[in-house]
Amino acid sequence: MYALLSLLPLVTASGAPVAPAAAADGRGLVAIRAGTVLVVKEGVVLEGGATVLVRGSKIAAVGKDLLIPGDATVVDYGPDAVICPGFVLADSSLLSSFGSARTAEPSLSAVQAFDPYARYDWALAEGITSAYVTPARMRLIAGQAAIVKLAGGPEVERIVRAPAAVHAAINAEARGAPGYWEPPIPPTSDVGLGVAQRQLPRTLIGATVALRELLVAARGGAPAADFGPYAAMDLGALVQQRVPWLVSVSDAAEARAALALSADFGLNLVLNDATFAGDAADEIAARGAAVVYKPSFNPDASLFNRGKSVDAQWPEPDTAARFARAGVRLAVAPGAGASPRDLRFAAFLARRGGLDPAVALRAITLTPAELYGVADRVGSIEPGKDADLVVLSGLPLEMGSSVLSTWSDGTTVWSAGAGGADGADGADAPLQAQPVVIAAEEVHLGDGHVLRPGEVLLQDGKIAEIGERVARPRGAVVVRGAAVMPGIVDALGFLGLEGSMRTVGSDFRLSRLLAPGDFADRRVARAGVTTVGLSVRQSTPSGVPVLSYKPAAADFDSLVLREPTGVRLRWTDGNRARSGAEVRDLLDKLGKYQQKWAEYEKALANWKPSAAKPEEAKAAEAKSDEKKDGEEKPAEEAKAEGAGDSKDEKAEGDKKDEKKDDKKKKDEPEPADPVTGVWEGEFDLPAPLSGKAKLRLQLINEHGKVRGSLRCDAVSERLVQVQGTWAEKELRLSGAGTQGPVQFAAAIGKGKMAAVLGTGAWQADVDTEQKSKEYPVAARPKPKKAAAAEAGDKAAPDKGKPAPPRLDERLEPLRQAALGKACVIVDVNRSDEILACVDAFAAAGLKPVIYGAQEAWKVKDKLVGRVSGVLLELPYRRNDPEGSVSFVNRYSELQSAGIAVAFHSSAEEGAADLFVRAMYMVSQGMSAGGALRALTSDAARMLGVSDRVGALRVGLDADVVLLDASPLAEPARVLRAWVNGSEVLP
């Protein structure tokens, strides 16, 4: 029944107490695990994972490697949580009640005033499980105090010990008793109506004298009539039981007076609130008295003025440390007026002056328990004691750690995040909302800088702060490790394709293939790769899309970084002469496209809403209508043909040409272009085949050059890309299908085509009919913005407002790349081709990413500053000189020349080894810093997503990886990974 959840335990979802299995007779076993357990006894700390075994309401065992019985409920708080004993308040004002009129009333009992039905959730939320409660204050002897449990309801026995102490005072508190006079009943004329008599004491001496009188009377000496008939009597019982005395003192003189009293009467003395009594530390230690130290700071009150005179007492911050150094038993409680909630901060303040943290922790747990005689039940995590535990997100006395869960008597009595906004109506997943602080010895920022040591704060999915010490928001998880680096970016990977070998057009939306966070994706992320630049396996000259996304993201919204991230083109062609032809074509078109957009933007900037030419507006509307028809039809056709084969045709760019022509000719009928369109037909298969076959052609005529696609099951299983010429009313097309080359020759009449279709094996006559004059746009989900834009166009056609040019999905990524927001990856290997490619792109104003780049080293000087980066293919070493055994590391060669390189996997889950590859490269001579850059920030920059991932910088996505050693310099392992601020769990 083991389950691991980061810092939220297994069973508490609603905040209701966790009932251990089979707890009816209190014998249920619960095993509570955390990274660190502070036992407190003798300062023992169990680190690296420890378990507390709880049976019923008691602790059964504590240890690092405990054997947990199979029927135990396991509650695991994660490796960053800390368990310490429930805190014990050494003094509190929880019972806010006023006392007896008399100055000494020892029989007033806290048990009578304690309400077992009251809820102390606010104190349990700070980890306080037991408290000292006194029935009154501000009296010489206020009453008998008790130690109570703050959780459990009326069924549980809440009083741990009563009487636990005599609550007394000899400081100003003792002088607060009101006047006292009680009439006899019934009032008779013998006794006149009296005036409330002032009660002693009024001074320190008076208080000391009064206590002496009472103690003497308690022992059976002279009766102390001033204090009423009961005071001495009730005190006698308490003195006999050797109940400790908690005496409030302020300064050293009062402390000495109390010590003298305790010496004379053999009292078990605890000095309360000895804020100014630091000078008497040695004497206190000599007498064996204890001190409950209260730092004089009240967070809920305004800062108080201490007094300007020479005698005014200003509290020294190091008093507690002085007491501890002198050997006084020290307990710490929140200051007078401060809420008990601030106990941990009080202990933190008490540490000023050099108090050991272990002693400070003991001062709020075991020492108060020992002072009041309940150390056999509470105060430390030892077998046989009550199961009162506090689970924190960090060490209890560390700044910024907060309580995650509180256990009292073996049940969870409070849990962070339970109830409140969560519960039945809760919408927030607590895991996501939890900030994470990663504290590491080395923080590699990804751009070459390293913080030693440093911390990173992840909040709301982003990196919120980086520094040597960052803020710890409430509820933050603190993770410690050796090194932290940004998540690795796989510049070109296939994780997500699921083995598909398909090729798609560059307007295909790869995000349609993705499903977030499956098992393999998470493992890859836990190996360090948090972002993948996804593309299809084969690139084409006309381009395939590149998409950067996070495989281990938790949901679709955070999955995709940018779509499209870019295109991948292939420069090299089988026919060397044609290498780069298509790409050049594309770049030409890009030029025109860019020009159009520039014009549009200029026109938009100059446009003012005014009465514009209606004709142009109408023309624009007419065009947009046609556009819509064109898109809807192929969408329907695509649906009709069903799923399965990718019906993704290349987006046509020539619609824009047509529109431009139209604009020039101003509403003249479209020029006859008999070829462009969709042609369908059916024909009989010739011998030796039989049956009918359907044929569908989609063609587009670009000034005599025709290209398109042919679909005929008999000819090819897949879509056949055809190209050819249209000249003198004759159409000739050729292409390659899966079963061989395909030839097509046709003559076109009015909307009818008589053609001859030939494969290598047979020929057939085909009659087809033109179904549509539009070259169909690929059926793809319309991006909402475009739809809205169109709707906007239709809805409010501002007359004369320049309409934006039609978005060409093929050229758009290139245009974005020119603006620096996308990437262009070009497959090219030979050096001359590389140069040609780079030149061509430079002419278009782009810096491509060269993929393959076998011979880039030959022209590396010419590439500096003109390429965005290089992605190398195997082999990564180059023999130099050629044929010898000496080799050169191609990565470092290029990187040291000033060309950015990045690591890419070209694999699916093989991306998990990307970090190992980088380590190998470093072992073969690459610089560690450079390799780290290549893994992270350079890769991100090449993909054009450096505004989101790739470095540890405030504002970037919280994709962070924790390692157990310095990355790339030592054999490091990736231990844990966070994507968008939430940890990736196996």
Binding site: L95, Q112, G143, I185, W414
Partner: protein, 520 residues
């Protein structure tokens, strides 16, 4: 005592209404027959077309029309449109008093008969809503309060109202104003400790042969004859003072007698608990001092949380409105409502519902007993349980089980005639018969007429003319008389003014002698 106008008004109203009643009663002798379409004798038992015969203040026969012989000389009231119901029993209240509590912490020697004000509006209101038996106790703002008594809400003097005097002591486990929980517990404990000490001292004095107490008793004028001269050993389950038989009862201080009786288990106690934490304290105190078997808990606020403790003790409880307890859950911040009566019913506690005694800020609805029972039904209490909680159970708690609480032969003739289903807001009490005498007739309720119809009561200046023909002539005469008075006053005023003018016109600053002489 200064009588406020409202008291004057009440007095006049009651006087006139009482006059009407007595005139009616003169005819009835002491036999009354009540007929009703439904006679609900006790929760769960109903007689259709029933008849109740009351003779000499007791029910002699209850049955269906045909089965019961009606005395020929009896007054018959009621009709088929009515529902006869036993008079409600208020288990505990502190309304109708001069003030609910005294300032003295421990005052068991006080008797509530000195505090009951028979013409207080509370009794009229109780009568209007059909409560025929009330247990009037001191309020809960005490440590040990005085003795209460059971009364009926009719009568011009306390004696006329009394059903059972010198009844039960009131204690409070919840802090009195000015005390904390700890000091209250201490005061309670000390009250009994001091009693014990005083008794022990008296025994010791007697053993030592001191005669101080006898002298004190004689000085205070207490009787030392007969029974009072004998001593009696102390009984009691809690603690005992050995040798108390040495002390003649007459020599015991009067102020100690009540607590002594309580400790000996001879007196009932009602212990007020305003919070759940006080329930256990109350029961522990009662157990320690030997009066647990005579304790009834009066529970308000969130005492339902301690319903287990109450059930385990086996003691009955009286629930004080509001019976729907609302509190905020600390973790979620949501308000949680708990139906108090239902919780106690489910835990198996015998409880009565009483009306609010004014400890906290109370709504008018809290003072109407049947309405609280009806609310409890709405919150999930079974109907019969709710009816029992305002009739039979309080009768049992008060020790008057064979006298009130249901309509059975031999019980007191306290009957209500309702015009509809009992415990419904549409039903009104039409007649209230207390021990065979019609104590309330809604058709003649002057205050209701004033409230609902705007008819001014008789005896008041403006309304004399409206109230029936009989008063009309008198009203005219009164009006004339008033006019004459006014005229006379005016005259007198004018004369006085003239006299003043004469005076003032003379020299202001004349000799003091002359001025003094004139004024004389």
């Amino acid at each position: 005592m200064q009588t406020s106008p409202s008291t004057l008004f009440a007095r006049s109203v009651l006087a006139s209404s009482f006059a009407l009643l007595t005139s009616g009663l003169a005819l009835a002798a002491d036999k009354l027959v009540i007929e009703a379409g439904r006679v609900i004798t006790r929760p769960g038992h109903e007689i259709k077309n029933g008849v109740i015969v009351i003779e000499n203040g007791r029910i002699t026969k209850v049955g269906a029309q045909g089965e019961v012989d009606k005395p020929w000389d009896a007054t018959v009231i009621g009709g088929p449109q009515y529902v006869a119901f036993p008079g409600f029993v208020e288990a505990q209240t502190s309304r109708g008093l001069d003030r609910p509590n005294e300032n003295i912490d421990v005052a068991p020697f006080l008797d509530i008969r000195d505090s009951i004000d028979p013409i207080n509006f509370a009794y009229e209101d109780y009568l209007r809503h059909g409560v025929t038996t009330l247990n009037v106790q001191q309020g809960g703002n005490c440590v040990i309060g005085g003795r209460g008594m059971v009364v009926r809400p009719v009568g011009m003097t306390v004696d006329e109202m009394a059903v059972r005097t010198d009844y039960a002591l009131k204690l409070s486990a919840s802090p009195k104003a000015g005390k904390s929980a700890a000091t209250q517990a201490m005061a309670l404990r000390r009250a009994f400790e001091e009693l014990r000490k005083r008794l022990e001292k008296q025994v010791q004095d007697k053993r030592d042969g001191k005669a101080r107490d006898k002298r004190e008793a004689l000085f205070q004028g207490r009787e030392l004859e007969g029974d009072k001269a004998k001593g009696r050993a102390m009984e009691g389950k809690g603690w005992r003072v050995d040798g108390l038989e040495l002390v003649p009862r007459g020599e015991l201080d009067e102020k100690d007698l009540q607590l002594l009786e309580l400790v000996e288990g001879k007196r009932d106690a009602y212990v007020w608990c305003a919070a759940a934490m006080d329930v256990r304290k109350a029961l522990d105190l009662a157990k320690e001092n030997g009066f647990l078997e005579r304790t009834t808990l009066v529970l308000a606020g969130d005492c339902w949380k301690a319903a287990d403790v109450v059930a385990a003790s086996g003691r009955p409880a009286i629930l004080i409105p509001p019976l729907l307890h609302v509190e905020t859950e600390p973790i979620t911040g949501k308000e949680v409502e708990t139906p108090v009566a239902k919780v106690f019913a489910e835990k198996g506690v015998k409880f009565a519902i009483a009306s609010e005694t004014g400890q906290a800020s109370s709504l008018p609805s809290h003072h109407v007993l049947w309405y609280q029972a009806a609310l409890a039904i709405g919150q999930g209490l079974p109907r019969e349980r709710a009816i029992a909680a305002v009739t039979t159970v309080p009768a049992e708690i008060l020790g008057l089980r064979d006298r009130v609480g249901s309509l059975e032969e031999g019980k007191d003739g306290n009957v209500l005639l309702l015009d509809g289903e009992p415990l419904s807001v549409r039903t009104h009490v039409q007649f209230v018969v207390i021990e065979g005498k019609t104590a309330y007739d809604r058709s003649k309720d002057i205050r209701l007429k004033h409230l609902l119809e705007g008819k001014e009561p008789p005896g008041t200046q403006a309304g004399a003319a409206d109230f029936g023909a009989a008063g009309a002539g008198k009203a005219d005469a009164k009006k004339d008389a008033l006019k004459q008075d006014e005229a006379a006053e005016r005259k007198a005023g004018e004369e006085q003014r003239k006299a003043d003018e004469k005076q003032s016109s003379g020299p202001h600053f004349s000799d003091a002698d002359a001025a003094g002489e004139e004024r004389g």
